[in-house]
């Protein structure tokens, strides 16, 4: 950030499900200032009714994602100096999700799709059984580990043009989760999950634009996970069933 900038010109989207518009605020520039700091300053000093969502402020909870200068980002780990255009900053609610109020979106569809893609772990053992030994070097575990660090911030969902065009599409986060479970040998729903994710709104709708990979704040690659699901479904089909 230019050291000469003393005040930021911040446009924040205000409104609700029926519509809204941008309003401008002058926010004092500070060193090591995050976009979430900016939003919080506006709420505490200029606009007490501004609604937004956050919790941990350290990039773990996944609740503070917003559109910043037209791109989806987690705001708590985005430094202003990285995204400032001149002295301008534009903050809006996440794309592809309905707005509740101001910067808070309704994430119901996002989480419904997550469970709709069988994103829930289905155990094959009870608490009476011994803990399954899983080697960290096991090839399936390596694949699962590469995709496991998703915090469900919905940045990928917001970045995905296929979600924009096809509301039935499960989206990158849900499919990435499904991929980790397909590579978890303790899970007992591989067959059912494969049927679900290869249906009408499933992995085959992905055009591999790779926006999810580009914007994922945890540097995951959901496109690769979805490609893995496509391969798994096709191989399962040719093996005479979708069981695995």
């Amino acid at each position: 950030m230019d050291q000469a900038v003393e005040a930021l010109d911040v446009k924040v989207w205000r409104g609700n499900a029926k519509g809204g518009s941008y309003r401008s605020y002058e926010v004092p520039a500070q060193r090591s200032q995050t976009v979430l700091d900016v939003v919080t300053w506006i709420q505490q000093n200029a606009e007490p009714t501004l609604t937004y969502r956050f919790a941990c402020r350290v990039g773990m909870c996944g609740s503070c994602a917003m559109m910043v200068n037209g791109e989806p980002r987690w705001t708590c780990r985005t430094h202003v100096k990285k995204v400032l255009e001149g002295r301008h900053l534009e903050i809006a609610p996440l794309r592809n999700l309905p707005v509740i109020k101001d910067l808070a979106t309704d994430m119901t569809a996002f989480f419904d799709k997550w469970t709709g893609a069988e994103g829930v772990f289905h155990p094959t053992a009870s608490r009476a059984d011994a803990i399954a030994p899983i080697s960290p070097e096991d090839p399936a575990r390596v694949l699962a580990n590469e995709a496991i660090e998703c915090i469900n911030c919905a940045v990928c969902y917001s970045a995905c043009d296929t979600v924009t065009a096809n509301p039935d599409y499960l989206g990158p986060a849900a499919l990435n989760r499904a991929w980790t479970l397909q590579n978890d040998e303790r899970d007992g729903a591989h067959s059912r999950r494969l049927r679900t994710i290869s249906g009408g709104g499933g992995c085959f709708n992905c055009h591999s634009h790779q926006s999810c990979m580009t914007y994922c704040p945890n540097e995951l690659n959901p496109t690769a996970s979805i490609a893995g699901l496509k391969r798994l479904s096709a191989m399962s089909f040719f093996k005479g069933g979708r069981d695995r």
Binding site: N166, P167, G199, F204, N205, H207, A234, F237
Partner: protein
């Protein structure tokens, strides 16, 4: 609105088309470079089982591939219901198949 079967049909038809496209381009270059007239081309293709099979397979692969590709575009552009999408896909596939079959018949029969 692309499921497993449509995905596989489009990928397999693409795999078929890849060598057929190369064969088609090679044929065109050969015909142009050697200055073959329409009559000379027809002389080679008429009654030929292999030319009929080559371009017949090409037409089938293109009809399947293009119909599914257009289905994805139409789905994401116009938000049609599954029923209308199926209807559109079949209509495009059959239309391309009929037009292609007519062209193949014209040079082979």
């Amino acid at each position: 609105m692309i499921g497993l079967r449509l995905y596989l049909a489009q990928r397999i038809s693409a795999m078929l088309m890849a060598p057929l496209v190369l064969g088609h381009i090679a044929t065109m270059i050969y015909a142009v470079q050697n200055g073959l007239s329409a009559a000379e081309i027809l002389e080679r293709t008429q009654g030929s089982f292999w030319w009929g099979a080559f371009y017949g397979l090409f037409v089938v692969a293109v009809s399947i591939h293009a119909a599914i590709g257009l289905r994805a575009i139409v789905c994401e552009t116009f938000s049609l219901t599954a029923r209308w999408l199926d209807l559109f896909t079949w209509a495009v596939g059959i239309l391309l198949l009929l037009l292609g079959a007519r062209a193949v018949a014209a040079v082979v029969l």
